[in-house]
Amino acid sequence: MTVQECYEKIGGDYEGVCERMMDEARVRKFALKFLADKSYENLVEAYGSGNVEDAFRAAHTLKGVSQNLGFTRLFEVSDEITEALRPLEKVDLSERLAQLKDVYDRTIDAVSQLEEA
């Protein structure tokens, strides 16, 4: 899968990220690094164990990373979760987390199919 195809599949901003990172090879390199990013797992784990503060931070990190990588759809969902957690109070996120899981899995799936440069 090409970088552009990947971004189209996951609802990303291909042109924007290429413009900001200045060339496609760099976009590919950092998109691939996302496979090792642990903020999604951290978010799920912290939320599961009732640690709202850690959950907020993990969501914030996931938001920041996906924003930088131009993963627009993933950014939007994680941004909503971040704002929902910002007051640092217990809140029911099951619906949003299901939505996030869907987008995240699709993103990981597409990114891992990126051709090596």
Binding site: D37, R57, K63, V65, N68
Partner: protein
């Protein structure tokens, strides 16, 4: 050696992206939270050219880092650029209140981040450079100032020496008592200090008073150019001789003119005033220029009173000595010249001091 940049962000990808932008021009240090960042800053901040700081981080966050940096005074020499996903203007304002140099929002543009970092680093380097230059210049100036002070002190002593030597020449040449010059100096100081205190309109200062006192030794320097036949004549001078005698004022100025370049302008100017004008009268009937009132330089007015006072209380070939009390009243009654009322006011108020000076110098 490249300048160093410290990147602080909890997400590795974000650090990697920033490092990727900057590693061509800078050596990169990384910290994944505020605590690590502070540790690095504590030990190596002197080698770091800029800090790129995320705000939202576990353990110690970006604001806590700013708080410490501000408290420790590290912000002054080390620029901080915030790289944050925070969209609120409130957070941005808070950062600038801490003194950060820039605030970049995620997602950032690689080229713009690169430019902003370069700008800030360049600015701080320039500032450090300028500060170093200013420090160096200041030190140079301080040394030169000290040297100038030493030279001024030397010059001052030279001036005094010249004046004293000239004064001694007059003493040896004339029939006046050897102590006359010393007396005049003493009386001049007493009167001048009173004028300084009571009549600021004359613009005297402590330094100016010192110069007047010193230069008062020159008041009769012109007498060395008067032939013995006139200068030492025991009897009364005829009109022609008296006219010649009066020329000691202008001859004194000629002598001072001839020793140009050796001494300070201020000394010379005051010496000149005193030589030329110490026989002027307040009513304009003195010599050589018939100056009246305060057209007569205050230096000459003061020395004139001191000179007359000493002449009265000293014994001369042509007269005996008056008592200090008699001399005091003769001057106030206008029997020995016409002086400014202000000066007479001063003279009146320093009667005691003048008498003490005269007594201390064995009259």
């Amino acid at each position: 050696m490249k300048n160093k940049i410290l990147i602080v962000d909890d997400a590795e990808i974000n650090r990697e992206v920033l490092a990727d932008i900057l590693e061509n021009e800078y050596d990169i240090l990384q910290a994944s939270n505020g605590r690590e960042a502070l540790e690095i800053l504590k030990n190596s901040r002197k080698e770091i050219s800029a800090v790129l700081l995320d705000l939202m981080m576990p353990e110690v966050d970006g604001f806590a880092v700013l708080e410490v940096m501000k408290t420790e005074g590290w912000m002054e020499n080390l620029p901080v650029l915030i790289i944050s996903g925070e969209t609120s203007v409130k957070a941005e304002k808070r950062c600038f209140e801490y003194g950060v140099s820039d605030f970049v929002r995620k997602p950032f543009d690689n080229m713009l981040v690169n430019r902003r970092v370069n700008n800030v680093v360049g600015l701080y380097e320039l500032q450090k450079d300028l500060q170093a230059k200013v420090d160096k210049q200041t030190e140079k100036l301080r040394i030169q100032y000290k040297l100038l002070q030493v030279q001024a002190e030397k010059l001052h002593r030279t001036n005094e020496n010249i004046i004293d030597i000239l004064g001694t020449v007059v003493e040896n040449r004339s029939l006046e008592s050897g102590a006359h010059i010393k007396h005049v100096k003493g009386f001049t100081r007493v009167i001048a200090e009173r004028v300084l205190q009571d009549y600021p309109e004359y613009g005297l200062t402590k330094a100016k008073v010192d110069i007047i006192v010193s230069a008062s030794a020159l008041h009769d320097i012109g007498k060395i150019a008067i032939p013995d036949s006139i200068l030492l004549k025991p009897g009364k001078l005829n009109e022609k001789e008296y006219d010649y005698m009066k020329s000691h004022t202008t001859r004194g100025c000629d002598i001072l003119d001839s020793i140009e370049d050796i001494w300070d302008e201020e000394y010379k100017k005051v010496g000149y005033e005193i030589c030329r004008h110490h026989h002027e009268r307040f009513d304009g009937r003195g010599y050589p220029d018939k100056l009246a009132g305060d057209d007569i330089p205050i230096s000459a007015q003061i020395v004139s009173v001191a000179d007359v006072y000493d002449a009265l209380i000293s014994e001369r070939v042509y007269k005996g000595a008056y008592s200090k009390d008699e001399a005091y009243h003769m001057i106030l009654r206008g029997e020995c010249g016409v002086f400014s009322p202000k000066l007479m006011e001063c003279f009146r108020s320093v009667k005691k001091e003048l008498e003490m000076v005269a007594a201390a110098q064995g009259e």
